[in-house]
């Protein structure tokens, strides 16, 4: 048993931890996932894909989840956002669930942005959703749990 919280109640390969929706906790969550990945010896590409999806999902929560959020990442969302992350594995796949109590945001049906126009017309934004959809094998959204629940899966 390492320092990572691990639940043995329903599934011996499930980890769950709560975070606050701040920049510091995005980094803390990334570190937590990296620790699990190292402990479970996930392939390097899977670790990278997990980190990309986690980073983009949490960035969306912090930027847009607060009731008075201005999108400025240096501001703490009001009210403070609670985020719960769980990781579970089996022989075929790794599943990551991110729940938050922020404003509703359907990442599955949100418009995808990709840079495909001349440089002077490019407005960066929304690229994170494109990255999530490309790095995850499947993605699902529902209004449940704390409020928003996103499940991304990665095939082993």
């Amino acid at each position: 048993m390492n320092a990572v919280q691990k639940q043995h109640v329903n599934n011996p390969n499930t980890w769950r931890k709560a975070f606050i929706g701040t920049i510091d906790d995005i980094s803390a969550a990334a570190q937590w996932v990296a620790t699990i990945a190292a402990d479970q010896q996930f392939p390097e590409q899977l670790v990278f894909a997990l980190q990309v999806c986690l980073e983009e999902l949490l960035t969306n929560v912090v930027r847009h989840g607060g009731a008075t959020s201005s999108g400025d990442l240096s501001e703490v969302p009001i009210p403070p956002l609670n985020v719960e992350i769980s990781i579970s594995t089996n022989a075929q796949r790794v599943s990551m669930t991110v729940e938050d109590n922020g404003k509703p945001f359907d990442v599955v049906n949100a418009p995808v942005h990709r840079i495909d126009q001349p440089l002077d017309e490019v407005q960066p934004g929304g690229l994170g959703i494109q990255l999530i959809r490309n790095f995850a094998s499947t993605i699902a959204y529902e209004r449940a749990g704390l409020g928003n629940r996103v499940v991304v899966e990665f095939l082993l």
Binding site: I23, I26, D120, P124, L127
Partner: protein, 182 residues
């Protein structure tokens, strides 16, 4: 990750090789330590960087570790008018926010900029935003930017998001130089 500042002055009067106690001059050593700490503090606040004398071919080199343990930026002005910016670390949310101001300054002051991504281990959308906004600033005044030698996973992020359609990705400095010569 390289240290943010020069190695601190020794605070104890023990000689490394012999283990003997050196003559102690506590007041001056303590004063120097405080001065050093003050310089380090000011460096961290104002991101002063350090000017480093370099070998032949380099004009000026400034090392700026903008967020210790996350990311660092090493800026080298080459003789041929190209500025090489070596980024080391993670361009995640924290890293991107840490280097954003530095990149804005580079885009304002330089013209031909190579961003060496070979030491970048992670790139998120906020890091992409930093690259795009800097490239737009450069292009608006007739400059250009190329991305040098990203690691495979980072390159996948760049191509997935379409960055490669507006900022060229090259494998070596010769290819970068050729692009600026066009």
């Amino acid at each position: 990750m390289r240290p943010n500042v020069l190695s601190p002055l020794p605070r104890k009067g023990r000689m490394a090789d012999t283990g003997q106690q050196t003559p102690t001059f506590k007041a001056p050593v303590t004063l120097l330590s405080y001065i050093f700490d003050l310089v380090c503090f000011l460096n961290s606040i104002f991101d002063l960087g350090r000017e480093v004398k370099t070998g032949a071919g380099f004009q000026r080199r400034v090392v700026c570790n903008v967020a210790e343990d996350v990311i660092s930026v090493d800026i080298v002005d080459l003789d041929n008018g190209i500025t090489n910016v070596l980024v080391s670390g993670r361009m995640d949310v924290q890293g991107a926010l840490a280097v954003d101001k530095k990149f804005s300054t580079i885009a304002d002051e330089k013209k031909k900029v190579v961003i060496d991504l070979s030491q970048v281990t992670f790139l998120a959308s906020l890091g992409i935003r930093t690259l795009i906004m800097s490239c737009k600033t450069l292009a608006s005044k007739g400059g250009d930017m190329v991305l040098l030698n990203p690691q495979p996973n980072v390159e996948k992020v760049l191509r997935t998001s379409g960055v490669d359609t507006v900022i060229q990705i090259v494998r070596d400095m010769n290819a970068a130089t050729a692009i600026f010569s066009k």
